[in-house]
């Protein structure tokens, strides 16, 4: 969805407020939100789905909330949904219990998004010119608005990764090649003042088409 979270290129938020001595957590509740979010993440589906919950927060709430407030809203939305499902299914007692050993393993070993199944052979090679598709899906996507319909160059091939646009909606991981794509600042913003500046963004193969098609 084209939501306020997709804010690359907006210039209406003023200067960066940099505080050198900022604490990791300002309040105890922030630390708890972090701990609960990490601890319960396996309850609420893949990361892509959990990101999409944040994207659906109303614009004013999104902008006026701090980061951990948005996370708190996500937890509340997700738990409201989960309890509603459980009540409906009358499985009140059957909430999954989180195993600390498993969780600790995930924290230190991660949950990689690369896959050995799916499309393993990249269509594009480093140096290829591509154009991003101009798509405006109503659901989750990681094709930021500011790089839609723009021409760029394949800079790296990251291997085959789970595809957020389907994974977020329970439509399968649809694993496919992921690329780092380079765009010139001029292509994205029309600026000619710094002709050598570039922006790199990671894009899945389904977002791209060969330039001359």
């Amino acid at each position: 969805m084209n939501s306020i979270h997709d804010m690359g290129g907006l210039t209406c938020f003023g200067q960066v407020k940099y505080d050198e001595d900022e604490p990791v957590f300002h309040h105890e509740w922030e630390q708890k939100v972090l701990a609960i979010t990490v601890a319960t993440s396996s309850l609420f589906g893949p990361l892509d789905k959990r990101r999409h919950v944040l994207e659906k927060i109303g614009s004013i709430d999104y902008l006026k909330s701090s980061y951990y407030e948005r996370w708190l809203i996500r937890l509340e939305l997700s738990l409201n949904e989960l309890t509603a499902i459980n009540q409906y299914q009358s499985t009140e007692s059957e909430y999954e219990s989180i195993d600390f050993k498993e969780l600790e393993h995930a924290i230190y070993n991660g949950r990689p998004s690369d896959r050995t199944e799916g499309r393993q052979t990249p269509i594009f090679s480093v140096g290829d010119r591509i154009r991003t598709k101009n798509i405006n899906p109503s659901g989750h996507t990681r094709l930021a608005r500011y790089v839609r319909g723009r021409c760029g160059f394949i800079d790296r091939v990251h291997g085959t990764h789970s595809f957020p646009d389907t994974a977020a909606h329970g439509e399968g991981e649809n694993p496919q090649p992921l690329y780092s794509v380079r765009f010139t600042a001029k292509e994205l913003w029309g600026a000619e003042k710094y002709p050598t500046d570039n922006l790199y963004i990671d894009l899945w193969e389904d977002y791209l088409e060969p330039l001359d098609v």
Partner: protein, 217 residues
């Protein structure tokens, strides 16, 4: 008669300091979540405390600084780091959630790399810890992709026109770490001393590594 009308903050989304009352409200909401999760047997209080503890004490920019300092001192490690950052960082004992697929970007006198996540706030937790507030705020996320040089100036970093700026927007699960330039005249510094020069900001790319000979007076 006063001729000053209602003042308006024209250009910022300021995450304002919360009042005591607001903090009490937020605390209450979090406690409700916590109580529910514990009562239903989903998590225990111990488990939550252990997780909080990991992120408070185990992860942080010191990990990244150790990686960078070693790369400065050990050319073969630097090569491995640039070739396969995930593996080279694992060598140092760091890895995990939000660091599954690492790429290291080398700054040089003519190339300056800077990292953002414009769509949310993706950040390499195992090497940098949890992200600072400004990294997650709209001002940084929206403007670094279009006006990187202006934003870097706000951090006190003025780049020459001849330097190529490379902005990396981490839209997938690949996480980027900047390898800053080693400060001049630090040939005799040991790795441990170099670690102290590597700030979080330098590894995001909004600053250079600390100059040990720089004095503010």
């Amino acid at each position: 008669m006063s001729d000053h009308f209602h003042k308006h903050d024209q250009d910022t989304v300021l995450i304002k300091e919360r009042s005591e009352q607001e903090i009490a409200g937020l605390t209450k909401r979090v406690e409700k979540l916590e109580k529910f999760l514990i009562q239903k047997g989903i998590v225990s209080k111990d488990l939550l405390e252990s997780v909080a503890n990991i992120y408070e004490n185990d992860l942080g920019p010191l990990n990244g600084a150790k990686v960078i300092a070693r790369a400065w001192c050990d050319p073969s490690y630097k090569k491995r780091l640039l070739d396969d950052a995930t593996k080279a960082i694992k060598e140092m004992g760091f890895g995990g959630l939000q660091g599954e697929h690492m790429v290291v970007l080398e700054n040089t006198p003519i190339i300056h790399n800077v990292v953002v996540c414009s769509l949310c706030s993706c950040y390499p937790w195992p090497v940098l810890g949890l992200p600072p507030g400004w990294y997650k705020d709209p001002a940084y996320r929206s403007r670094i992709v279009i006006h990187p040089r202006d934003v870097l100036k706000e951090f006190g970093l003025n780049l020459c026109d001849s330097v190529e700026v490379r902005v990396w927007d981490s839209s997938a699960e690949v996480r980027y770490l900047v390898l800053p330039e080693r400060p001049l005249k630090t040939e005799k510094f040991c790795e441990e001393d170099l670690v102290k020069l590597v700030t979080r900001e330098a590894m995001i790319g909004v600053a250079k590594a600390k100059d040990p000979f720089f004095s503010e007076t």
